[in-house]
């Protein structure tokens, strides 16, 4: 019997019984092809079913041509989707997993650049993200939209889904009707609570008629818009939940929160608390009888078990946790919780890539989106075990060693420092970034149990490597901050790099100038680290604003808020030309005006890295098989270190 009694108990949801309480909730993947479910989707979802989740919901699929918010949206209103639906649901039903279709209309949270049509909303207005003024829906359009919801629902039934979830959450036309922040109509669909509810009730009614009485139907309700200027509050959501339950047409209530005004709450990063929506679910659950699903930042079976045990929710939504480790449910069931690769909510591989229009990925799990080739069960033992020397135990080297060892190669892993993890450990020292070291924690948990010879405190050179008589050498020696990124006369300890600050090699003075060519957490996290120590920090950057790379990660708002409230000040648009002592000369990249920044005790540089490629070039031509992976190829991010480590592990 599993230690997770509640997590692995079945649940009746409408006419469906799910085997456990883990729900792989709806999320955009960008895997769609020709506006259909693709084979990539199917392989992706199948691995999560294999991994043991009891329920999954597809990504949002749109019900009407006026909604084409993203290029890869599945067009649920077209009957052509049904054959692919069937292929997906048949595949998932090979496992003990139920699958629901999520149907949505994004309303004014969209633009017409793909559809070349006006976007629809309850009232004229624009979304903060898409910025396009919508068309206030005419009455005929409201009726048409309801009809299309019903039509799309019928397609889902025919396609073999076990249920349907209607999106009334963070991105939804129906929510826009519910919310006084977006609905200013003066007809029967706006104004009073009853009127704002009307569209939702009519959609539910039409969908229920289309799917029949026995089919499982639920909604994803926005439990709190948390809008600073008058959106739906938890109290409103409770009233809505009661009214929706009273219809007798629904079987479950999934929850979300936030809107595109505060997307950092919808897709909370490691800078938000774990399980931060549970209190909302708990409140809703206390007043209705339907099963309540909660989501967001629940990455651990112990946490999930506790939420269920305490009666806050009936189902636990996990998205990033199962992107990162599809086998989380199975591992929890088998009591192998140490083996779970926990999502660290860095948002770089998943949300960060999606926001830039790329396919879903994961910095820790290189198989995401490539399940057919790299998914569960694809790793084969090698034909001829080799003696492999891996130099460098950062994420790239650890992953290469792990995969090579799993394939039965004999692996010797050399690390210069006394601890493994490389820059991942340094990254964890920046303010609020501790969780990122989960990358190293998991890799080490695996390396420890494999037959890998790890030698710490060993700085490898050519002779040492050759003495091992390796069949193959993998160089993963990483990168170091650029030695002298700007001209001028300056030196340690007045001018330092962020590694020196975070490693404690230097105690910065009281007044700090931080030169940010990074735009990522390296710079802002170091600034916050210093501000937390009471330093007065000023950030210079040549980009338009501080935190230029944080937007897609949903870390921009909170990072800037924390910095500003901690007294950190910003000067954007400044390119640094030279440094003399601690005086920094810059130029405004627009006006070409020269500016001197003086009076600082310490200048901290976040100015990029240089590859540590000396060993690679020294070995080149001297060993049978030589590979180079991660930052020593070109300094990039953790995702590429792990992708390349994984690839080499399979190639050997």
């Amino acid at each position: 019997v599993s230690e997770f009694i509640y997590l692995f108990s079945p649940l009746q949801i409408g006419s469906v019984v799910v085997a456990n309480r883990i729900h792989f909730a709806a999320h955009v993947t960008n895997f769609g092809e020709d506006h259909q479910i693709s084979d990539r989707h199917i392989h992706y979802y199948r691995d999560r079913a294999r991994g043991g989740c009891g329920l999954m919901s597809t990504e949002e699929m749109t019900v009407h041509p006026s909604d084409h918010a993203y290029e890869k949206l599945v067009h649920a209103y077209r009957p052509e989707v049904i054959p692919r639906y069937k292929k997906l649901t048949r595949t998932i039903h090979e496992y003990d997993t139920r699958i629901f279709a999520q149907l949505s209309h994004n309303g004014m949270q969209a633009d017409g650049t793909i559809s070349r049509l006006p976007v629809w909303g309850p009232s004229s207005g624009s979304d903060p993200l898409f910025r396009e003024t919508c068309k206030q829906m005419e009455i005929e359009e409201i009726r048409e939209c309801i009809e299309y919801f019903a039509k799309s629902a019928a397609h889902a039934v025919e396609g073999g889904f076990d249920g349907i979830e209607l999106q009334l959450g963070h991105s939804s036309l129906i929510r826009q009707f519910l919310s006084p922040a977006t609905n200013f109509r003066e007809d029967e669909y706006g104004g009073s609570f009853e009127n704002r509810l009307r569209f939702a009730l009519e959609v539910i009614d039409a969908v229920r008629k289309a799917v029949g009485a026995d089919f499982t139907l639920g909604v994803r309700l926005n439990a709190d818009e948390m809008h600073p200027r008058g959106g739906l509050t938890l109290e409103d959501a409770k009233n809505i939940a009661v009214r929706l339950e009273e219809t007798g047409q629904l079987d479950f209530m999934d929850l979300s929160l936030g809107t595109f005004h505060n997307l950092y709450l919808v897709e909370g990063s490691m800078h938000t608390p774990l399980a931060y929506t549970v209190p909302l679910a708990s409140e809703i659950r206390s007043i209705i009888d339907l099963p309540v699903f909660c989501t967001n930042r629940i990455n651990d079976p112990h946490l999930a078990e506790r939420i269920l045990e305490d009666g806050h929710a009936d189902m636990i939504g996990m998205v990033r946790a199962l992107i990162c480790d599809p086998e989380l449910p199975l591992k929890a069931w088998e009591g192998r919780t140490e083996d779970i690769r926990q999502c660290i909510a860095c948002n770089q591989g998943c949300i960060g890539r999606m926001a830039l229009g790329y396919r879903l990925g994961c910095i820790q799990n290189p198989a995401v989106g490539e399940e057919r080739d790299l998914g569960i069960g694809t790793l084969e033992p090698c034909e001829r075990p080799k003696r492999v020397v891996v130099v460098g135990a950062g994420p790239a080297g650890l992953e290469a060693a792990r995969v090579a060892s799993l394939r039965k190669h004999r692996v010797i892993l050399l690390e210069k420092n006394e601890e493994v993890g490389g820059q991942n450990i340094i990254a964890g020292k920046a303010a609020g970034r501790q969780e990122i070291t989960g990358v190293t924690r998991w890799l080490m948990s695996q390396v420890r149990r494999l037959d890998i010879e790890l030698r710490l405190g060993v700085e490898a050179n050519v002779e040492m490597v050759l003495q091992e008589r390796p069949d193959a050498v993998v160089v993963a020696t990483g990168s170091i901050p650029k030695d002298k990124p700007f001209p001028g006369e300056y030196c340690f300890p007045e001018v330092v790099n962020i590694h020196q600050v975070l490693n404690g090699e230097v105690e910065a003075g009281q007044r700090v100038l931080l030169v940010d060519l990074d735009g990522h957490h390296q710079a802002t996290g170091t600034a916050e680290f210093l501000a937390d120590k009471g330093k007065a920090v000023h950030i210079l950057t040549p980009t338009l604003f501080v935190g230029g790379k944080l937007g897609p990660l949903q870390d921009l708002y909170l990072a800037r808020q924390r910095l500003a409230t901690k007294g950190v000040t910003f000067t954007p648009d400044i390119a640094v030309l030279e440094i003399q002592g601690t005086s920094v000369k810059g130029i405004n990249v627009y006006s070409n005006e020269m500016m001197d920044f003086e009076g600082y005790d310490t200048v901290v540089l976040a100015s990029g890295n240089t590859a540590e490629d000396g060993l690679y070039f020294a070995l080149k031509g001297k060993v049978k098989e030589l590979y180079r992976i991660g930052d020593c190829v070109a300094p990039r991010k953790t995702d590429m270190a792990i992708v390349e480590g994984h690839r080499v592990g399979r190639l050997l």
Binding site: E33, E71, G112, T113, I114, R116, P118, V119, S124, S126, R131, E132, T133, C134, K135, Q136, R353, L356, G357, Y358, P366, G519, L544, F545, K549, L556, Y557, R560, Q561, A564, T565, P572, D573, N588, V589, Y590, S591, N592, E593, G608, N609, T610, A611, V633, A634, P635, R636, M640, V643, E644
Partner: protein, 649 residues
């Protein structure tokens, strides 16, 4: 009258019928790595319009080069049959077509390939921000092989030649330029070393594709940046490429990754700004030289050819906007040419946002019909149509409906047609937008469509007229009260009141910008030009967020700052009382009191003028609503909806 423009030219073994070349450019029409029917229809349409040469871009010749999703995988053997369909369709019009071979080097990322990107040195592009791997000797060999294989694929695919890209977005330029090439080996340092790889590539392509195959170069002849390629250096490159590489022609471009706003520059850069560089290159070689970009009319092109500054003229946007530009010029119908306004919103702006190529004036871009019939079948019966509103939506609807044989009358409330475009034209640097109305006005005149101006149409009037169909295109107006508080003219004005000079504007101005585009920044610039002191406040992270995809951000911010405008981002205005505004910083929530201004100007969006539409709804036989009166958006949607309504009648 365009004797030079419409004279033949020999490029290697290929004779092109005139001097108009449709240059390689990004369309985002590719799907799943393949050339599409959309590409074929698009290029065939330009061939039909009479250009002398087409160059296909967007090819990836090596799997490691995948800067954006919509690349055509020329390294995939399946591409040959796609290319054959394209080249056959273009050749049917007697137009030669070349393929451009490129590798983007470090102007890229590994986000799609999940592999490292290549560069001469460990540099990163300012847009992609990803550090490149300095290419190893084996990588250089692989690259030369990839170019050679690409040339063979192009030849097998029926192309008449290739153009090797050494332009602003190319790995070969990165090797040529001291800005990006810091190598210590024989491929970096001296001029000789920097051009070694490009020469090896030309040699490889020549050898692979055969001596009789036309091979040209697109050369970035002036990077216009400190420590970068200058025309002096590029003349020497050109000489060597012609002499040693035996290149058949050289296309000239300017700009580099720091200033890509020069490459498909908007109306805010001078016309002809690249011609002098072409002239300098022409002075160095005897092979044909092509001048490109910022050349917008047949007269200008003819002048350049006549003066011997270039042998061939490269166009992109003018032929996107009007595929029949060459035909109309040759037939002396220049008045009918729909000239590119260089607004960049429909083309560059969409492509940078990963959308398919479009054009604000030409809604057919990307949806060209495969056959030669004009789109839209003729109407069943001639209808009497009232078009209400003479902005771009109404004008395009009237034009389309009339061309399909209907009887059309257009009503405009103001004294002049043009709608909001007349306001755009009052802003500094934005006058080129008036081209939209010039063209449509000219066409309405030619089609003899009656235009009743100065007439505010009422529902009763429409009912009295008994039209068969009504098209409401009544536009939009600034939101009457976008912020709470007690305020109004003359202290607080909206942008229209400023542009129409309805009230005098004081010296110290607070400009509230919730627009983020030219609407706000060009109005601020107008006032700054009048010597006023402008503080711009926005809740966005920076002033001008909508300008970046258009390539207009850098120069706009430069002009504003140099004219003394200051920026206050991150601030939401909550309330205005008299000439005082209260706002808060959206990060710290600190309250801000903005006082001491003579005038506050609001640019906070529009509301539709939809009253007439709702009065007519149910009262007329056929009713359409188009453009801003549906939802206030841009000219692109106005023209598109005008076209659609016209075609539906």
């Amino acid at each position: 009258m365009f004797d030079h423009l419409f004279s033949k030219l020999q490029l290697g073994n290929v004779e092109i019928p005139n001097r108009i070349c449709f240059l390689a450019h990004r369309t985002n029409f590719a799907a799943k790595g393949r050339l599409t029917e959309r590409h074929i229809a698009y290029y065939a349409r330009r061939a039909r319009g009479g250009c002398g040469l087409i160059i296909l871009g967007e090819l990836s010749i090596h799997a490691g080069d995948y800067p954006h999703e919509h690349m055509i995988e020329a390294y995939n053997p399946d591409s040959v049959k796609d290319f054959r369909r394209l080249t056959t369709a273009v050749h049917a019009h007697g137009t030669p077509i070349f393929a451009q071979l490129n590798h983007h080097g470090f102007q890229s990322s590994g986000a799609i390939t999940r592999k490292e990107i290549w560069g001469p040195s460990a540099e990163s592009d300012i847009v992609f921000g990803e550090t490149a791997k300095p290419m190893e000797p084996e990588d250089l060999e692989t690259l030369v092989d990839a170019f050679s294989a690409g040339a063979c694929t192009a030849r097998d695919g029926g192309f008449d030649g290739v153009e090797i890209d050494m332009g602003p977005e190319s790995l070969l330029r990165q090797f040529l330029s001291p800005l990006s090439n810091h190598r210590q080996d024989e491929y970096g340092g001296s001029l000789e070393n920097r051009m070694r790889l490009p020469l090896e590539v030309i040699g490889g392509v020549r050898k692979a594709a055969g001596e009789d195959f036309t091979v040209g170069i697109q050369l970035c002849a002036d990077e216009r940046f400190w420590g970068a390629i200058t025309p002096d250096e590029s003349r020497r490159f050109a000489e060597r490429f012609a002499a040693e590489g035996r290149a058949d022609f050289i296309g000239v471009s300017v700009g580099t990754y720091y200033n890509l706003y020069l490459v498909l520059a908007s109306m805010h850069t001078p016309l002809g700004s690249t011609v002098d560089v072409a002239r300098q290159i022409k002075g160095a070689v005897s092979i044909p030289v092509m001048a490109s970009y910022q050349i917008h009319s047949p007269d200008m092109a003819e002048g350049i050819l006549e003066e011997g500054q270039a042998d061939l003229i490269g166009f992109v946007r003018p032929l996107i906007c009007d595929p029949d530009f060459p035909l109309k010029a040759r037939q002396g119908r220049q008045g009918e040419i729909r000239y590119c306004a260089r607004d960049n919103k429909g083309c560059v702006g969409r492509v940078h946002l990963s959308r398919t190529l479009g054009c604000i004036q030409n809604p057919e871009v990307g949806n060209e019909p495969m056959d030669e019939k004009p789109s839209g079948a003729p109407p069943f019966g001639k209808k009497r149509i009232m078009v209400i509103g003479g902005g771009p939506a109404g004008l395009e609807a009237a034009r389309t409906a009339r061309e399909r044989g209907h009887e059309v009358i257009l009503y405009e409330r103001e004294a002049l047609i043009g709608g909001q475009i007349n306001l755009i034209g009052k802003r500094p640097g934005r006058q080129a937008m008036e081209a939209v109305i010039r063209y449509l006005g000219h066409m309405l005149e030619r089609l003899q469509i009656p235009i009743i101006t100065g007439r505010e149409v009422t529902a009763d009037f429409v009912f009295e007229e008994h039209p068969d169909a009504v098209i409401v295109a009544t536009g939009s107006r600034p939101k009457p009260r976008p912020v709470s508080g007690e305020y109004g003219p003359p202290c607080v004005l909206n942008v229209w009141e400023v542009l129409k000079e309805q009230f005098p504007v004081g010296q110290r101005v607070l400009f509230i910008d919730e627009n983020g585009g030219h609407h706000a920044s060009a109005t601020a610039e107008l006032l700054a030009d009048q010597g006023k002191k402008i503080d711009m406040v926005t809740s966005d992270l920076f002033v001008g967020v909508e300008l970046a995809p258009l390539g207009d951000l850098h120069l706009t911010r430069q002009r504003l700052l140099q004219k003394g405008v200051t920026f206050m981002p991150d601030v939401v205005i909550d309330r205005i009382e008299g000439n005082k505004a209260v706002g808060h910083d959206i990060y710290t929530n600190a309250r801000l009191f903005l006082e001491g201004y003579d005038c506050i100007i609001l640019d906070m969006g529009n509301v539709p003028e939809d009253a007439l539409y709702f009065q007519l709804k149910g009262g007329v036989k056929e009713l359409y609503r188009i453009g801003d009166c549906v939802a206030p958006r841009g000219i692109d949607m106005a023209v598109l909806e005008g076209r659609k309504a016209g075609e539906m009648l």
